[in-house]
């Protein structure tokens, strides 16, 4: 059992004539938490979708190493990528609002590989998120924002993933809930030895748990911070995020 990592090199992606990503390269090493920083519309979600096979890049390569085995992700279907053990927590949570909490979790384990472990993984989920166990029969749409984010995380964990992609966990949450969500991600990461790529606008919160990060501006990687200090002291970030 060696590590699980993602290597994105030189990818381009576009929605019709609108260019979303230009020559983006990025790496998430095994066991790292990497933050992908950038404000709205800079291509964070597109990059996530490219990795998941939802959007197909027009050029470039994406490789994932899962437990020491290397896989080419470009051209693979989303199901096949999920089967490898890569899970996405989509932006805005994207739960199934008219299904119950429990059904949402079950759908996280739709793939046959995940179904075999369903009882275990569900138990883990309810252990990690006790509120969800209490509300298992409630409709996901009736949960509060914070609970919905927990459910979105729980749904992704039902796959027992090696690599977790989290797209903007802080969206629409009160500051205290953002803090809690970020803490939870850190805790889950350690508990399950996950490799995490997290897209986030909330710089100060993301940087708390990230080992390092990339800043993406207008579809290009504008800055690569090899440590949190580098990110903290970067002029671009001071200008864009902190208004200094």
């Amino acid at each position: 059992m060696s590590g699980s990592s993602i290597t994105v090199s030189g990818i381009h992606a576009a929605y019709g004539a609108v260019r979303a990503l230009e020559d983006v390269s990025l790496e998430v090493k095994s066991g790292e938490t990497v933050a992908l920083l950038g404000t709205n519309g800079n291509g964070k979600s597109t990059l996530m979708k490219c990795i998941m096979g939802i959007v197909r890049p027009s050029a470039g390569s994406i490789f994932a190493e899962i437990d020491g085995r290397r896989h080419d992700l470009v051209g693979r279907s989303t199901e096949a990528i999920v089967d490898l053990g890569i899970a996405l927590v989509p932006e805005g949570r994207r739960l199934f609002p008219k299904l119950t909490v429990e059904e949402n979790l079950l759908l996280g384990a739709f793939r046959r590989i995940a179904r075999a472990q369903i009882a275990n993984n569900r138990a883990f989920c309810f252990e990690a998120f006790p509120q969800l166990a209490e509300r298992r029969r409630q409709l996901a749409g009736s949960l509060s924002g914070g609970e919905q984010q927990m459910l979105a995380l729980g749904r992704a964990l039902m796959l027992a993933p090696r690599i977790l992609l989290i797209d903007e966990p802080s969206v629409g949450l009160a500051p205290i809930l953002v803090r809690r969500t970020i803490d939870k991600i850190q805790q889950l990461k350690e508990q399950y030895r996950l490799t995490v790529l997290m897209a986030e606008q909330n710089f100060t919160q993301a940087i708390r748990i990230a080992d390092r990060g990339y800043v993406i501006v207008h579809g290009r990687i504008a800055f690569e911070g090899r440590s949190t200090e580098e990110l903290n002291n970067n002029d671009l970030i001071r200008k864009f995020y902190l208004g200094l």
Partner: protein
């Protein structure tokens, strides 16, 4: 195990209905009951795609008529027993359903519905211009007066449709409670999220369009023998499309029982109205009932009951 219990109960219920109707010695019951059961199959079939997956299909009449015209074509070639025709009609409509799924898989919401409407027009035009099955003149299908074991032919048709209805409901219920059903529900709720969770949305949608189309075709296969004369105007009647949407909506679209309740209710009311007032009033009834349900119970009768139960358990 519980599936088999359900099937046994349904079969017992069906046998009760059949022998009960026989006991009353009134063939009209079979004529009217056949239509209600036919709608039960259509509503259940529509619901597999429209209710479970959330893809509203306006083209029911196309699949239904394809089943019927498959029977006409085969009858002209060499008559075959009705169960065989049902199977063949199901296969033809299922294949067309699969094709429709492939062609429309990029379309969602209203755009998908418009495409299905277009399909109905295309198929009707093709059939109208196909001389072998009668073209616009229509085709006569002479049916035998009696059938061994059962007796009168209409009782036989009723029995066949009853069995088909039980099979359709059984299949719908099985789908609903399986991984397939969960996958369908996830497509209905949020297709992108379903895809991101690894649900093979494309494959599931194709399965839904195929299954739904196949059951619609099966419902149509015995039609030429029921009416004796089939022309495109009656095979592609607007009522099939309207009813197969209205019935699940009235009953409730998320469970198998919804279309059953809706079909039994609306179908029976229409049959009663046909003999007491006029068959012309049927579509009006559907319209009024639908408006009423949209205002009072947008999630159908089942939705209404569930809301009541939930309110009670919260108290």
């Amino acid at each position: 195990m519980r599936f088999w219990i359900f099937l046994l109960v349904a079969l017992a219920l069906g046998a009760g209905v059949f022998f009960g109707a026989r006991y009353l010695h009134n063939d009209y019951l079979f004529f009217a009951g056949y239509v209600v059961l036919e709608y039960l199959v259509l509503a259940t079939a529509w619901n597999i795609l429209g209710g479970y997956c959330g893809y509203v299909n306006f083209g029911t009449a196309a699949f239904f008529a394809l089943g019927a015209y498959t029977s006409v074509a085969i009858h002209k070639f060499s008559p075959m027993p009705i169960p065989v025709l049902i199977l063949l009609g199901g296969i033809v409509s299922g294949i067309v359903g699969l094709g429709m799924g492939y062609l429309t898989l990029r379309l969602r919401g209203a755009f998908f519905s418009i495409a299905t409407l277009a399909l109905a027009v295309v198929v009707q035009t093709l059939i109208t211009n196909w001389d072998y099955v009668g073209g616009s003149r229509g085709a006569y299908v002479v049916r035998p007066a009696t059938v061994p074991l059962v007796g009168s032919y209409i009782q036989y048709l009723f029995l066949v449709m009853l069995v088909l209805a039980i099979l359709a409901v059984f299949a719908a219920r099985m789908i609903e409670r399986s991984w397939l059903g969960y996958g369908f529900a996830s497509i209905r709720d949020d297709e992108l999220a379903a895809e991101a969770s690894g649900v093979p949305t494309l494959r599931l949608k194709l399965m839904a369009t195929t299954l739904s189309g196949a059951f619609m075709g099966m419902a149509g296969a015995p039609l030429p023998y029921y009416v004796g004369y089939l022309d495109p105007a009656s095979g592609f009647n607007l009522a099939y499309a309207v009813n197969s949407i209205a019935m699940p909506l009235v009953g409730g679209t998320t469970t198998w029982i919804g279309p059953v309740i809706g079909a039994l209710l609306l179908g029976t009311v229409q049959q009663v109205a046909t003999v007491t007032i006029s068959s012309a009033v049927n579509l009006l009834i559907v319209g009024v009932v639908l408006v009423g349900f949209v205002m009072i119970a947008p999630n159908g009768i089942i939705g209404l009951i569930e809301a009541r139960l939930r309110a009670r358990s919260d108290r």
